[in-house]
């Protein structure tokens, strides 16, 4: 695993929930990233956002890391969960809520 992949591996494991996205939660720069940010907000779970637009090495590296060609990418406990399509499907089926419930902050905001 080269240094870039190690760096991504570290990022992925630093927090329970990590979203690689274009832009920031406050200012998403792509419709797909914006949609996933909205779904995560609705699920009420805190997450760490990584803006891939700030670092091309991460933007390309994370695609190789997950063997997944697009951004956004959501990780939970270091495991790749999916991109916008899959997260949307999980939201509709209730799976996203179930997956993220353990990470909701204790005061349930």
């Amino acid at each position: 695993m080269d240094s870039e992949q190690k760096n991504i591996d570290k990022l992925v494991h630093e927090h329970d929930v990590v979203l690689f996205m274009k832009g920031t939660p406050q200012f998403p720069q792509c419709g797909f990233s914006q949609r996933v940010v909205g779904l995560l907000q609705e699920a009420g779970a805190p997450y760490a956002a990584v803006n891939v637009l700030l670092d091309d090495a991460i933007r390309e590296g994370v695609k190789a890391y997950a063997n997944w060609p697009t951004i956004p990418q959501l990780y939970v406990k270091g495991e790749f969960i999916g991109g916008c399509d899959i997260i949307s499907e999980m939201h509709e089926s209730g799976e996203l809520n179930t997956l993220l419930t353990p990470f909701r902050s204790k005061d349930g905001n």
């Binding site: 060609p69 697009t70 951004i71 969960i81 999916g82 991109g83 399509d85 899959i86």
Partner: protein
């Protein structure tokens, strides 16, 4: 981007797959639906990775414009019954 080419690529590489491609009117996004018994027992991520694998670098620049839906035959049956 030729729909038939995309359908052919997926059908060649994913056994017994039924593939449908539709262009969203107005913008360059398009939806691809793939139904195949090869998806049985696989996670959604693995199913989508199979389709991306099949498309190879045919879609490198436009891959982000693809909305992908994958189903096992049974899942697709349930979806159709609901519609």
């Amino acid at each position: 981007m030729d729909n038939q080419l995309l359908i052919g690529l997926v059908e060649q590489s994913i056994p017994q797959s039924d593939v449908d491609v539709r262009l969203f009117s107005g913008d360059d996004h398009f939806e691809m639906r793939v139904v195949s018994p090869a998806f049985i027992g696989k996670t959604k991520v693995a199913q989508h990775q199979m389709v991306y694998q099949a498309l190879g670098n045919h879609m490198q620049s436009r891959i982000h414009a693809l909305a992908l839906k994958t189903y096992t035959p049974e899942q697709w049956q349930q979806t159709e019954n609901k519609e």
